[in-house]
């Protein structure tokens, strides 16, 4: 493997956002749950689907609503050969702006057509409702309709009461690439070594090393291998659990200033009562076994006190 190649990793960012709707969208989503499409009547008399919360011209709240038909015509369309995750269909389909009968403005939605050849501007489409409906824009898709008007689906709402909120998961996957400095540092950590770098201009030793010294704006590129001992400058005792936390509270989250470094970094201090930890306390790293190591400071499981005398406050106060 190329020793200077950058480290890559996958990042998964996901959250099921819960969104409250307010009065207008609540009408719309409640309608969808019941298999109805509700439009808003604008100040100029046009019926807009979906209903905007505020009139585009007067900016007053939209307060008048009207059901529109579940069928209409395609105003324009485009074709998707390879659907992306989360899109309404998992085989090729069309996006379309659809003007439903009774509406004056078109709605953006998906049309389950067999091929692009089956799509045309002006064609008729109709809603195909899901059996289970949450009261969301995803409760339906559209399909080509050979012209017969669609009877309103009045099987009743599959959701109790008014829909006042929706859940819209946002899921994204990223490829994360580490900078050359981060990558070199990560590789060192895998070997159980702390490879700091200093700035060629100010000569301060940075750990972790940086793509740019924050003071001088140039990469820190002078190598300095550091011992895995140092002091605690300041710290807190964490009592509160949070999502993703693996260590049971209480534990100490501390800034550790390694011997020879000019900047501290956050890590854990364990192996002693949290109440015994002090500012200035000397600590040494406790490494994870080589087989468990990755490319981050997590390769150091935690720092533990060495038992040596505390550092004098004057020696580290400029690092607070």
């Amino acid at each position: 493997m190329n020793a200077s190649a950058s480290l890559h990793a996958q990042m998964h960012v996901e959250f099921p956002y819960t969104r409250s709707l307010g009065p207008v969208l609540s009408r719309f989503m409640t309608g969808l749950a019941a298999g109805r499409i509700v439009g808003g009547v604008l100040a100029d008399g046009r019926v807009a689907v979906p209903p905007p919360e505020f009139d585009p011209t007067t900016l007053a709240p939209v307060t008048e609503f009207r059901d529109v038909a579940g069928s209409g015509e395609v105003v324009t369309w485009s074709w998707v050969d390879e659907p992306l995750p989360g899109q309404p269909l998992d085989r090729p389909f069309a996006w379309a702006l659809i003007r439903l009968d009774g509406a004056d403005t078109p709605l953006l939605h998906a049309v389950a057509a067999d091929s692009a050849a089956a799509m045309s501007t002006g064609m008729r489409v109709r809603a195909r409702w899901g059996e289970e409906r949450a009261g969301a824009i995803t409760d339906l898709v559209f399909e080509p309709s050979d012209g017969e008007p669609l009877a309103t689906v009045s099987t009743g709402s599959t959701t109790e009461g008014d829909v006042t909120g929706i859940t819209t998961p946002v899921v994204l996957d990223y490829e994360y690439v580490a900078s050359p400095e981060e990558s070199a540092f990560g590789r060192g950590l895998k070997e159980g070594r702390i490879l700091a770098q200093s700035c060629p201009t100010c000569h301060k030793v940075y750990v972790p090393p940086r793509g740019a010294c924050p003071v001088d704006g140039v990469p820190t590129d002078e190598p300095h291998e550091l011992a895995d001992t140092g002091i605690v400058t300041t710290f807190c005792i964490v009592n509160v659990p949070y999502l993703g936390q693996k260590i049971p509270p209480p534990y100490v989250s501390a800034y550790v200033l390694l011997d020879g470094a000019d900047i501290a970094f956050l890590h854990l201090v364990l192996g002693t009562e949290a109440s015994d930890v002090r500012m200035g306390m000397r600590v040494r790293a406790v490494w994870k076994p080589e087989a468990e190591r990755t490319y981050s400071l997590e390769n150091i499981s935690h720092f533990e006190p060495t038992g040596e005398p505390d550092a004098d406050f004057e020696t580290y106060k400029k690092h607070l």
């Binding site: 074709w79 992306l84 309404p88 996006w95 702006l97 824009i137 995803t138 690439v177 900078s179 704006g217």
Partner: protein
């Protein structure tokens, strides 16, 4: 109003940047180039402003670590917009107008390649009634393109002309990532990518960063850069609605309004226009909205179809326009930037050579 000029510009673009999402590794050389061009150093900069997006990077506060590249000690007067850096330039220009700074350095950066860009941009849409369907940005543009085909606003050949001209012009652009002598037939021979768009009708996914320095001409430090300056004679931006159903997708009224507010009364008098059109048909819309003439040279850089580094692409248009003014190729140049789906928000910056 104070007279303000563009006095430095640098850019870096590539298909896939093998580096960190905050692009510090790109910003350092970009800044280095700016210092070289102007002979200035960080102490000559009165205000710093950047444009970038957390969602491009996949984390909150992603712009924060980019500040490392600036050497922001002692502390600086600095701000950030979660928009293309062209709008960061606007904020910087405003700062100079208030008299609180005489000069500004603006930068933008982004790694579009880190996640499928066309999908990520679905998050710019209405979170209640549109985003849950995840309509991608290419499909939305394709809807707009078909609308124009159906209504006779353009035809396939007109789109192909834009794509061909852009690709060919980009041969002279060392930073372009899509370039090559291309004919209309070459484009039409390409398969459809998102019917009715072909791949070459769509901007390539691009990583990159760019930086620019502007200065007030009444400031003493401007004398050192007077020789290579392009005066900003008009600067404005406007927005239209986001909802695709509530606007005429064949128009971009905010582009026309921005041009008017920027003092463009006769588009035909513009020698060079750098238009931020990530899709070929959008260039046609913009040319009409901005009132550009047949003699206006459009996108000598190749435009966004040659390289589209998100969150610096708009700033790059301004930089490319400035470069043409510096070289004497244009006496008056117009640069445009866009944000949001289907040309929702538009910015116009007019540059003129020193008389």
């Amino acid at each position: 109003m104070r007279d303000v000029s563009v006095v430095g510009f640098a850019q870096r673009q590539m298909r896939e940047f093998d580096g960190s999402p905050n692009c510090v590794e790109l910003l350092v050389p970009v800044l280095g180039e700016l210092w070289e061009q102007t002979g200035w150093s960080k102490t000559d900069i009165g205000f710093w402003c950047s444009g970038s997006s957390d969602y491009l990077a996949g984390r909150s506060f992603s712009f924060v670590t980019a500040i490392d590249a600036l050497g922001a000690v002692p502390p600086i007067s600095e701000s950030h917009v979660e928009m293309d850096a062209a709008w960061a330039l606007y904020e910087a220009w405003l700062k100079i107008q208030t008299g609180e700074a005489d000069s500004a350095l603006v930068y933008g950066f982004g790694k579009s390649s880190a996640s499928p860009l066309r999908r990520t941009l679905a998050l710019q849409l209405d979170p209640y009634t549109v985003t849950p369907l995840w309509p991608d940005t290419v499909s939305i543009a394709a809807l707009q393109a078909r609308l124009g085909l159906d209504q006779g606003a353009w035809d396939e050949k007109a789109l192909a002309e834009v794509a061909a001209r852009s690709r060919s012009a980009a041969v002279d652009n060392e930073y372009a990532i899509r370039k090559g002598a291309t004919s209309v037939d070459d484009v039409l021979a390409q398969p459809l990518f998102a019917d009715p768009l072909r791949r070459w009708d769509c901007a390539p996914v691009t990583d990159g960063a760019a930086g620019m320095i502007i200065a007030a001409t009444d400031a003493p430090l401007f004398d050192r850069v007077r020789e290579r300056s392009a005066a900003i004679t008009g600067f404005a931006h406007h927005t239209d609605a986001s909802s695709l159903g509530l606007r005429d997708l064949l128009r971009a009224p905010s582009a026309a309004a921005a041009a008017q507010a920027a003092g463009v009364s006769d588009g035909a008098a513009i020698d060079v226009a750098e238009l931020h059109a990530p899709f070929s048909h959008q260039e046609l819309i913009l040319r009409r909205e901005l009132g550009l003439g047949d003699d206006t040279e459009i996108n000598p850089s190749g435009g966004a179809l040659a390289a589209n580094p998100m969150f610096s692409a708009g700033l790059v248009r301004i930089g490319e326009a400035a470069a043409r003014v510096w070289s004497g190729r244009a006496r008056t140049a117009l640069a445009h930037a866009t944000s949001g789906p289907a040309l929702q928000q538009n910015l116009v910056c007019v540059l003129e050579g020193a008389s």
